[in-house]
Every structure is written in structure tokens, then in C-alpha cells.
Amino acid sequence: MKQPDDQSKWATASQEPEPSTRRNFLARAAATGAAAAAMGMLAQKTEAQTAAESAGANGCEAGVAPLRPPEIERCAALPATRADFSAKPMTGAQLFANLCKDEELAGFFLCPGNYSIANELAQVGIPTFGGRTEGGMCAMADGFSRASNEVVACSGTEGPGFCHMTMNIAAAHFANTPMLVLASNGTMGAEDTQTFLQFMQQQPVTSSIRKYGKRIIMPTRIYEYGATAFRQVRTGVPGLAHLDFPRETYAMTFKDASEVVRMFNKNQYRSDTRPAPSAKELATAVSMITKAERPVLVAGHGVYWREAYDVLLKTAERHEMCIVGSGPTRGHVPDDHRLDGSRSTSALMSADLVVFVGQYLMPAVGDYTFPVGVPTIRVHPEQGDLGHNWPVDLGIVSDEKLFLEALGNALPNKKRAAWVNEIASAKKKQDEKELATVQTALGYSQSTGLLHPSTLCKEVHDFLYTGSIDPKQTLTGYGSNLVGAHAGRWLRGFRPGQEIVTYYQFGAMGPDLAMMIGSGAAIQAGLGPQKAYKGAPTLVITGDAGMGFTLMELDTATKYRIPVICVVYNNNCWGMHFTAKQTPKAEQLYMFQENIRYDKIAEVLGARGEYCKTQEQLRDALARAYKAAEHENASTLINCQGHKDFSLSDKYPGMGGFGPEPGVRAQMH
């Protein structure tokens, strides 16, 4: 795994207009890095900022518009420094920062607070991002990790900041994000005295939403517990570790290494060994798969985390197995692969064998669209989860990549023409049905003069995947209940990590924009599976309800020049207002002020704003937004005005039901 050396890649942007090609992205990314290293740039303005300044537009007084703070470039140009015992005693915070650096922590997202730890992590050269709220930055860290496949950290201050993070800690936990949650937490000396310390017991709060947690109360063990946290997040099934630091730990000074206990090298405190399938288990699996006529392999989160996507495709192709991706990211099973079953829901019901590989969160029987009582093989890195929720006929404890490699070597070549045809036929029928839904929605849009969410999502699909843009280029995600139901149908993952399932499992409403800004930071740096598309824009489809949670983080995106196109479906309400059908007095609870101009708020925050009511306006707005993202690293919020009644199926029927799983719309598993 690699990590960027410093923060310069977020400090500047190319000013040269270029067409949207993968080659140009690579070239631009290289030039960006070189330029940033060479200069300590003053704050630059985007075209949007310049225009706002000169015109006094968007509520800004003439001559006053948001400016990127000069500290962004200035700090990026400064060398990273690592404390050691040679010059002066080290603090606990410095010891912890060195540990994070040695562990190649790829990114650190915080809202200021937990100052000693946060500042030392930045100083030691870990790419660090400061933003507006702890919750937003926690979601950003989660998104960064989901897109980059790297370990990440977020931080908040004491009780209030930590509490603000909680929703997004849970979202990260249920996505098995390898993340450190770091929070300062009062002093042990004043614990239980009700002194104004913003103190609370943090660990009980995360006890059900973490893999590992520890309040570090012995200063000499700060390194040891930090190492334990990294061991926990990186090994087995990845997960989240929460450390809270009383002042006595991070502020303690140590004269030399002898004062710190168990300060081992990472090669001693953890191991990279992985379990492999036994010969007998492998032979049984090969026999079951070979005998099956219609096998389906569900490639879960573990396939992505272990970067086993290439061997997955090789193995599936060799034996013509249907493959379906699952987990908090999509694309490790490409949506355009001939064996992909993610839009062949009906065909999945024909499976006569299901092989789960790396499915960290198992559905219950009946949650997945497979035949009743279908024989099942499950491959998982930890024995304790085999048989959980879904009965298994063969359980194999194995690393996902090692299993797929062994399986690929052991399986004979096999053609399954009838099965492949059935998958293709089901996909064709499902696609035709989705297109019919769009046609119905188009009628609704035309009759109301407002954008229906189905129309919106199909337009985004056509823009990203059927025009001049490389379909694999743009990183996407979606949130919101109403528009999300349509976005899942039309956003695509053609390569690993291309689509982030922001809702995954926990279903948190609102963090999607922040999460995708974090994902955007990963693609800007070209980390992990994003490497080939370094510098490409990120697009998120979300709803107006979600805007209440993380809209302010557009300031963070603009500050760091992370180009995010945020398409907001604005229906003036919480889409679930139909739940008040039988209690009409409650309907007002779901309403916002109508016609709120989120695009104008974006402009005030230094991003671009677009406002659309028709398909054609959206098409043009997307083109302008993408151009600005490519050429100025500018973010854009596209406010798409919809109608609150579009979520009422009695008035506007024909929009389909809940999303079947596994498949393109899967959010729960």
C-alpha cells in the first residue's frame, strides 16, 4: 500500500482547460504534483469565485467572496517533520503520530479539537483535512477509506465533538471501514468531578459500533494501545477502533524510549499471515461448483478489501460462474461484465449453488434473491461467523484472495452457455423494465414541469456513461431515500471502487455528500483502486433532506479543491411524508420551506451553483459542472427542483418497489 508523501496534491489545481479523457487526467495529476512542490502558491480563485466577487452576486457584497485561505498552500509546502528523542523529550501525541506515520495512515479527517494529537499527525506528514463538523469529517474519512481501500482516521474533541461523530462512526462500523476514531477526553485527574471538561465516558457509547476500543489511561502505554488499534483494524475482518485520550496520555513527555512500554516495530506487533483453504475443503468446493449447473458467486466486501478482483474475474470466467458484487463499494464485479448478475435478479432465482466469498455482513435467508434452500458455500476469514444468518453446506475459513487463487487453479475450464444466456436474458428484461419506468417518469416530469427523480438519475447515467467521458472515470455515490431508490438503478460500477454505497447497512441519512467529498480526496490522490483515474471528478446524487446534515462541507471540498458534483433532488420535504397518510395532522412535520435554493448556498460557500427544472437544463448543468470540476477543481451543487407528490404512488404510480438484493440497488448487505 502506498500513501502520498505530503498534502501538496490538494493544495493546487491545473488552470489549463483539457478535454475529459483518462490520459489528460493522468497528465494533469502529474503536473499538479510537480507544480505544488515548486511553489508556495497564494490563494487562488475559481472562476465562480471571481465572478461572484465582481458581480456582487448571490447575496455577496461586491468584492467579498470566499477565498481559499493561504494556509492551505503554505502548510502543504512545509516539510513534514518527525519528532525523536535525540533533540528533546517526546510527548505522547508525538509517539502516537510516529506510529501512525509508520503504519502509513493514508488520511486524517477532523474538526479541530483533540489538538495535540491532531496537530502532531499533520506535522508528521499524514494527509490531514480540517472541516466544519466532526460528523461530516467522520463521514469524509469513511468515504476516503471506502474509495481508497486504505486505513484512515478521524478525530473530534472531547464529549461534544465525539457525540457529533456518533452517527457516522456507526455507519463506518457497519461498513467494516478500517478506521481509527480518535478523541481527546478530559483528564483523569478531574474525572468524575463535574469540572467543565466536556468529559463523558466515550467507550460505552461505541461499545456496539466498533471492533476495538480503549480509553488509554496509562501514558506509558499510548504506543502499545495505538499499535493494538492498528492490528485490529487491519487484520481479519477489518473494522473500526476507537481510542480516547485523557490529557495525561497525549501531554506526557518521555525522555527516551525506555520510558515507553512495548514500543515494538509493526512487524512484531502484528502479522500479515492469512488463512488458506485446506486441500480437502478446496476439493469439496471444486466438486460442488463443478456439479452445479447454475452457480452464483457473491463477491463481498472482502474481495474488494483484499484486492482480489482480478483473480475473481479470472476464476469466474474460467468456469462461467455468475458473479454478483456486494458490500459498501461497487465495481469489483463490473456492471458491464457478461457474467455479472447484479441486474439479472430473476436469473439469480435459478441458482443451484451460491458461493459467498468475503460477505462480511450476511443477509438472513429470504433477504437475498436466491432459491429457497439453495446449497451454499461460504468463505470467510473468521470461523465464528460461518453459519451466521445463512446456513452453510460448506464453510471455509480462508482469506478471500487466497481462496479465489486456489479455486481458480483447481477448477477445470467449463462452458455454461445456457446459464450465461439466462443471465443475459434476465438482464435485458430488467433493463427494459427500468427504461419503461423512466418513460413513465418522463411523462410525470413533462406534465408538472419539474424533474422526477427517475428522469434525473437516467440523465446522470447517460451523461456519465454514454457520452465522451470514460465510463470508468467518475467516482459516484448516492444518498436520500427517494432519489436514492432511482440512483441505485442508474449509477454504475465498472471498475473496483467506482461506486460508494453510502447507505450501506446502517442507512444513515445525510452523510452522503461528506462521504463523497472524502472519496473525492482519495481519487484526487489516486489511491488504491483509484490510481488509474487520479484527479477525476466525483459525483453524488442526494436529496434535500440530506442537505441539512453536510451541506456546509462544500466549504471543505472547495478549500481543498476536491471537485465534487452534488446533484440535489429538491422536493421540498422528507420523501417519507406519505407515511402520514392515515394521520393527516402529522403531514406538516415532513415539510421544508419550498424552493430552497441550495445552489445559492453552495455559491456563498465558494462552490458553483446550478438550478434545473427540466431534463435539458440538467444535461447542460452537468456539462458545465463537469468542465469546472476538471479544469478548476471546482465543486458544483446542482439543485434539481422536483415535486413532493412524486413519492406518492397513488398519484404517480409505476415507479417500482424496494430494491432486490443482491444487485445494483443493494444497500443492506
Binding site: 432465482m349 435459478s350 429457497v372 418497489g657 424496494f658
Partner: protein, 187 residues
Amino acid sequence: MNSHKGGAVSHAAAETRRGPRRRQPQAADWSNAPAQVLTRYAERGVFRSFTAFPQSGSRAAFCMRWHKDRYFDFIVDGTLKTIRVPVVLPNVAPRSAMHRDYRQFLEGFQGGELPVHRSIDQRKCFLKCMNRLGSLSIVVEVRDGDYAYATEKLLAVIHETYLLFLQLGGYADYMVQHLGANPDWGK
């Protein structure tokens, strides 16, 4: 496998107790085969719970807790050579669009639209859908005495009803209102 069901007495149990006495058919397969199939699925964890009621005359009854945490009664009649599930979908108005859609969905199993491995061989059994007081029920007429086949097919049809018909057919509101699905996620 007998697991405690709890709650109200099921239709199956009531019908078994109250049903008219009929001459028991010669072949015992009419009760054994469904029992074996259902027990096998129960042991594989398909159902959350499963109860086989004591046989009564030519009737055998079973009850399982299954999709959407609902109880499904299976009533096998050895004289009529049928297997009946009285409530597959509740609260469906007779002659409603949903009723029509569901009939069409069921016809797909017998009309050659599905692959052979999912379709129903009409020489072996025949599927009928009825609406009784707003509940959609399915009756399978067993034509060749292969009760195991009929049971397997009936289970598959109900399974596909909940995973394909409802999920893909635009019945989100129905699932929320009548099956207790969460309006946000459908579960």
C-alpha cells in the same frame, strides 16, 4: 421438527381439527412427502420456525414462520389431492390490479415463460390462485401423486412471490401497509 409457534391457533390446526372426515387415500405419500420436504427445509434454516400438526383423517397440516415474519399454513388434503396455502398475500382486494398482476405472475410458472428448472410441469401438478375475503391463496392440484414435487414447487412460488413479485413489481406501499415493512428500506 416441532418448534413452538405461540400466539393464535393457526388456520391449519383449526381446519385439521374441524374438517369433515374423509376416506384416507391408499398411498401414504400424500402426507409423508410434504412432511419430509418441509422438514428438510426447516432443518436448513429456511423457516424461522416450523410445526407439523398431528395428521387428522385425510388431512395433514403444517405451519411455518417465514417471509416477513409471517405464518404460512400448508394444508395437504389426500382425498382432494391438493395442497393449499390459505393466505399467501393478505389484504388484496378481489379484482384489483394487484390481484390481476398476481394471477399473471403465477401463470408465468405454468405458461412456458420461465426456464424449465423454475417452471411447473402441468402434467404433475396445477396451480390455482383464489381470493378469499381479501386473502390471496394458492391451491396446488397434485395430478400424478408426486406430492414432493408439488410441495417443492409451491414453496418456490411463495418464495418468488415475496422476493420477485413484491420487490420488482412496485408494491412498496403494500409491503409497508400490510406486511409491516419499514417504509425506508422495505424490511
